[in-house]
Amino acid sequence: MMRLAWLILRKDLTVEVRSGEIAYTTLFFAVTCVLVFAFALVREGRAPEDGAAGILWIAVVFAGNLALGRAFERERQAETLRALLMAPAPRTAVYLGKLLGVIALLVGAEIVLVPLIALLFQARLLAHLWWMIAILAAGTTGFAAVGTLFAAMLVRARSRDVLLPVLLYPITVPVIIAGVRGTAALLQPELEVGVVRFWLALLITFDVVFVTLSLWTFESVMTD
């Protein structure tokens, strides 16, 4: 099954590398978001305390919304969705492949966003790099897990572009809370490992529960 998921991921990445459509639009949008926040919040070179943590996650979540909307839209426009679902592959492999593709895109955006926010908001985001990577990875996985499922479910629904954020944001509130709190803990002058570890553990639990639920639900909701 992992081989099939890998094949779907490779297909998506190949299309993406050739067109660059989702990667460029998502990244540009995320950077614009961060700039808007910088214009609004940075006064005389000073940014509000802890603001960087919230802005990082808002940018990731907004960018994620865009990427998720396009990830299945492309299959629908090219009318390859049915082919994908008719392929002799378990539905869970399709889900995993798509999920990994979305995560890869978001990680790409984060590689740009983290240094940019650290620079614009004078935040010490890179001070504890490994913790930062762990929190971002766990948070992105959780957000993308729910997002991929919802984007897939909505692909045939009317007004799917509007519905995706309406459904996705209330459900991913825990990821946003834990991500922002965990990142804010990293920005403190004295690192409290216990606090960071708590939020990381919460994010990982969320990931496990929601990936399991998604794998279970994907099968039953993706029927023609």
């Binding site: 479910m153 629904a157 009317r158 209330p170 459900i171 825990p174 709190r181 639920l213 639900t217």
Partner: protein, 220 residues
Amino acid sequence: MPKWFVPAAVVCGVMFAFSPLVIASADYESTMGLVQKIFYYHMPSAWMFLLSGIVCGIASVRFLTTGDPRHDRTAWAAAEMAVIFGVVTLVTGPLWARRAWGTFWVWDARTTSSLVQWMVAWAYLILRRYGGPGSDKLAAGLALFGVANVGFIYVSVNYWRTIHPATTVVPKLPFSMGFPLWYCVAAFTLLFVILLQMRVRLEEQRATLDTLYLSLDEQR
């Protein structure tokens, strides 16, 4: 309509009509004064709000596993109940909190998870209304995630700080305050059951009408 429906509706109406008298007879809480009486409507509606969420979640899981549209109708009705009781809870809560805590809103575990649960219920209804065909299964998936979600929010916000009164207060209440509370809980539970039954019945009749139309079309 089942036989019990009309008597139940009458009893529920009478109970609500008398509830101000019962609440007025309760002991006067000295520090908060009259505002404390909000609690007799706030807590029962909050419980019904929670119950609606649970009913919606269980019905959705059963719909996803069995595909029986009856469970779907129950889930839909319960989601609407969640929005209604959520409004009552989220309006009465801040009114009480203004006096008790000095502020309308505090981001503590219960308030935050209630607000998000209310938003998930709205998202559910929006999906049903605008999702088009096939939105029943999507909504069931959403409800499933929504139920799992509330626990996470509760844990995460609880880690900060909680000033909300715990439910352990309830058994310790003196009789003069406990009786009005349980009276209101009974009235609200009855209201919940009646509204749920009405809503499910409406959807059943709609489904019957649809099948009748379809069979009429086939005969032509």
